[in-house]
């Protein structure tokens, strides 16, 4: 999760999520509408097939009336008994009317082209199943998948026919006028042109060539022949007038999906008064398209989302660059004082405003801070004059008083208090300078090894008196550029702390070594004694903090020592850290850059 600490990454992730949702929804909508379109196109294909199979009549009674076009009036039905090619069943061929030509013309389109289309492609993609209303006979395009449609299966296999035969069968059907009544005797056996007779009773439903009173014309042409031209158009205005050939649907066709033979099929059911024609189109190519579509989406959507997320990452990087600059400056403010200002982008936008506001805030902070430090500098300065006088007069009085007299002791103790006060004041002054970033160092080259050794020597005396053993381990020849007096103050402070907070018969180790990797002189101060409580480990570097308030004045000092030491270390570009403090020992480490590494 820490990855998302980055603003940029969060923006990129958020954008990706949003884009993912949008694209996801979009692709669902697009997918489903394309799917619908494809489905419709399949339906349309079925419709087209159906229409060319059924002729104009398809339109009658279903969606719209035929156009009042004279030449289309009335088809010329030609009847021919279908030579049911399938003889396995032994059934006689029902008197499916056959027409060797397609004389019912779809409303639109030229006769010729229609015919051409029929020749070339009728039934290529679709399969037909034709049954009479009683479902006594079933004709199917061969290879009709088993079990499609389910309803038909109870009639057995049905008769398998070549597409052309089916075509012929349909042609016959559509040449018969709809409705039984006007067509005359229904049960009259038909005699087919091929000489086969229909003797079965079942033929009833198919029988029929109805000889529509006015329209019936003998089949004048041999099967397979086409009669081009309008001259052969059925006569106009005769008979019922409304039937112009083709089959008349009695129900709105309905479509559904079905799976059979391992494939999905779109099945259209067309019902006329006497027959039910079922058109099935394989969805294999459709499914293939849908699969292509689906994989296109599966590739396009994630890659678009990734691209967009990447773009958002780039753009947000641009957008937060000024913020980063502000953060950098703020870091500098923390590190090197309040005089830093953020460069204003000058764009006049929100970030510009933020910068201006921040700078104004820094101005005020700096003012306030300067005032505060100036105050403490002035105050400690003002305190020095009375201190000077007190000290001077006490000193004079001390000299005048009789040696070892009670007065002299009083003066001595007062002088000590004045000295303490004096130190507090000068420490405060130093700290206020450090706060103002003006802790000016009188830098000189210092042989810290010998300097530190001398201080350790003094400390040994201090330690001896307190029954503490002090060991020092000092690497010779280290030099640093620093302020002699201030550094000495730091050393003395740390060592005297080590003595003060030690235990009886404890020990101190003072070590000076060279840290080549960082180019530092490293001063270690380790002492035995009580450990610093965990909660105090941060606080000990604060001003006027004492490790244990309860110790009171048993241990001298005024709680500025470590803070001052820290400030002095910082002014030397060094560090002062509490390495550890446990029951065993307390270990402070001061690191100051070596002269050669500056």
């Amino acid at each position: 999760m820490s990855l998302f600490r980055s603003f940029r990454l969060r923006i990129a992730a958020l954008t990706a999520v949003v884009a993912g949702i949008v694209f996801g929804l979009f692709s669902i909508v697009a997918y489903s509408s394309i799917h619908n379109e494809l489905e419709k196109s399949v339906d349309t294909r079925i419709m087209v097939e159906a229409r060319s199979a059924f002729g104009t009549g398809l339109m009658i009674g279903w969606s719209r009336m035929t156009r009042p076009r004279g030449r289309d009036e009335g088809a010329r039905p030609e009847r021919e008994v279908s030579p049911a090619s399938d003889r396995q069943t032994g059934e006689s061929t029902p008197d499916f009317p056959r027409s060797d030509r397609r004389d019912t013309i779809a409303d639109e389109g030229e006769d010729d082209s229609d015919q051409a289309r029929e020749d070339s492609q009728v039934f290529v993609g679709c399969m037909f199943e034709i049954t009479d209303t009683g479902r006594n006979e079933i004709y199917r395009t061969k290879n009709w998948p088993v079990g499609l449609p389910a309803l038909a299966s109870k009639y057995g296999q049905g008769k398998s026919m070549e597409p052309t035969e089916i075509n012929d069968l349909l042609r016959g059907l559509r040449s018969r006028p709809p409705g039984g009544a006007p067509l005359g005797p229904q049960r009259e056996p038909r005699r087919s042109a091929s000489g086969e007779e229909d003797t079965t009773g079942e033929e009833a439903n198919f029988d029929a060539p109805p000889a529509p009173d006015s329209v019936t014309t003998p089949n004048r042409e041999a099967r397979g022949e086409r009669r081009p031209g309008a001259g052969d158009r059925p006569g106009t205005g005769r008979g019922r007038g409304r039937w112009r050939g083709g089959m008349v649907l009695t129900k709105e066709p309905h479509f559904h999906y079905q799976t059979a033979g391992g494939e999905r099929w779109r099945v259209g059911v067309f019902a006329t008064d006497r027959h039910e024609v079922i058109v099935a189109a394989s969805l294999s190519s459709f499914t293939e398209n849908v699969h292509k579509l689906r994989s296109a989406f599966a590739i396009a959507v994630p890659s678009a989302v990734i691209l967009i997320a990447f773009g958002a990452w780039l753009v947000s990087g641009q957008a937060i660059r000024p913020i980063r600059r502000i953060a950098d400056t703020a870091e500098k403010v923390t590190a090197s004082g309040l005089s830093q200002r953020i460069a204003e982008p000058g764009t006049g936008d929100e970030l510009h405003r933020l910068t201006v506001v921040l700078n104004r805030m820094l101005d005020r902070l700096e003012d306030g801070f300067k005032q505060a430090t100036r105050f403490s500098a002035d105050a400690s300065h003002e305190l020095k004059t009375p201190l000077t006088i007190m000290q001077g007069e006490l000193e004079a009085a001390l000299r005048e008083a009789p040696a070892s007299s009670p007065q002299q002791r009083v003066y001595v103790s007062q002088l000590e208090e004045v000295t303490r006060l004096k130190r507090i004041v000068s420490s405060l002054l130093l700290l206020s300078r450090a706060d103002a970033g003006q802790l000016n160092l009188t830098r000189e080259r210092i042989d810290v090894s010998s300097n530190f050794a001398a201080i350790c020597e003094d400390a040994e005396i201090l330690a001896d008196a307190a029954n503490i053993t002090l060991k020092s381990d000092i690497e010779p020849g280290l030099t640093i550029m620093g302020d002699r007096a201030l550094l000495q103050q730091v050393f003395q402070n740390l060592i005297s702390n080590a003595v003060k907070y030690n235990k009886p018969t404890g020990s101190i180790i003072c070590r000076l070594s060279r840290d080549d990797s960082a180019g530092n002189a490293v001063f270690d101060f380790e002492n035995t004694g009580d450990s610093i409580p965990e909660e105090d480990k941060e606080k000990i570097f604060r001003r006027f903090h004492r490790a244990d308030a309860a110790r009171g004045r048993d241990i001298d000092g005024f709680g500025l020592g470590l803070n001052l030491a820290l400030e002095i270390a910082r002014a030397h570009s060094g560090t002062l850290v509490l390495m550890k403090s446990d029951a065993e020992s307390t270990h402070f480490r001061l690191s100051i850059p070596l002269a050669e590494s500056l």
Partner: protein, 225 residues
């Protein structure tokens, strides 16, 4: 020796004058810069103690003007600030030393002595107390005929004590002068060093020179003259 003290704060001026007089200096005190400059240019002083912040002419400009007139009288600047640039500027302008307030008068006299010694030549490089002689230049120490070797810190402790023979120096004063103030005043570093010094100087001697003033401090017995 004649010393001019230019200090506008009267009480400060008083205790300086008093302390110096006790050391045998002849002291003139003035309270403003113009007057101080006038006296400094008209009368020969052995040394001038000059406050920097003064009404009228300030301490720094007095030093500058004196040096411009090739007057090389030793000058000690007194400053309430320890601002680095002020100190540096003072020393650059030709001041010989500086002291930051508050200071011990013993420190002032010690510095004054060393300044005067420097400007007066070698004659005063020898400090004496009884049969103890300390050569500040060669750092040779002799008690009678016996040569004594001291560590640098012991040497500066002895020197400080011998500057003011007969006067009690408190541990705090000693600590500030010898150790540059930063140990806590009630530590006994001073006591330990005094003991070491005694072991080297007074051991086996009939006359003990280093004396403890109980509850106050230490002093060198005044040589019997």
């Amino acid at each position: 020796m004649h010393v001019l003290v230019v200090e506008d704060e009267k009480k400060t001026a008083n205790f300086i004058a008093k302390g110096l007089k006790e050391q045998g200096f002849v002291v003139d005190v003035v309270n403003n810069g113009d007057e101080g400059y006038h006296l400094a240019t008209t009368e020969p002083f052995d040394a001038i103690i000059l406050d920097i912040m003064l009404p009228g002419r300030d301490g720094l400009s007095i030093v500058r003007n004196l040096r411009e007139r090739h007057n090389h009288v030793p000058v000690i600047l007194l400053t309430a600030r320890s601002e680095l640039n002020e100190r540096v500027e003072g020393l650059n302008l030709g001041a010989d030393d500086y002291l930051t307030k508050p200071f011990y008068i013993e420190e002032l006299t010690a510095r004054l002595h060393s300044l005067i010694r420097r400007s007066a030549g070698e004659s005063s490089n020898l400090l004496r107390a009884g049969d103890l002689r300390v050569d500040l230049v060669t750092r040779e120490i002799k008690r009678g005929d016996r040569e004594i070797t001291l560590s640098p810190r012991e040497f500066s402790l002895l020197e400080y004590l011998m500057r003011s023979p007969g006067r009690v120096l408190t541990r705090t004063q000693i600590c500030e002068h010898v150790w540059n103030y930063h140990f806590d005043p009630d530590t006994n570093v001073v006591g330990v060093y005094i003991q070491r010094l005694r072991a080297k100087i007074d051991a086996d001697e009939e006359v003990k020179l280093i004396e403890t003033v109980r509850g106050v401090g230490y002093r060198i017995k005044e040589p019997k003259s």
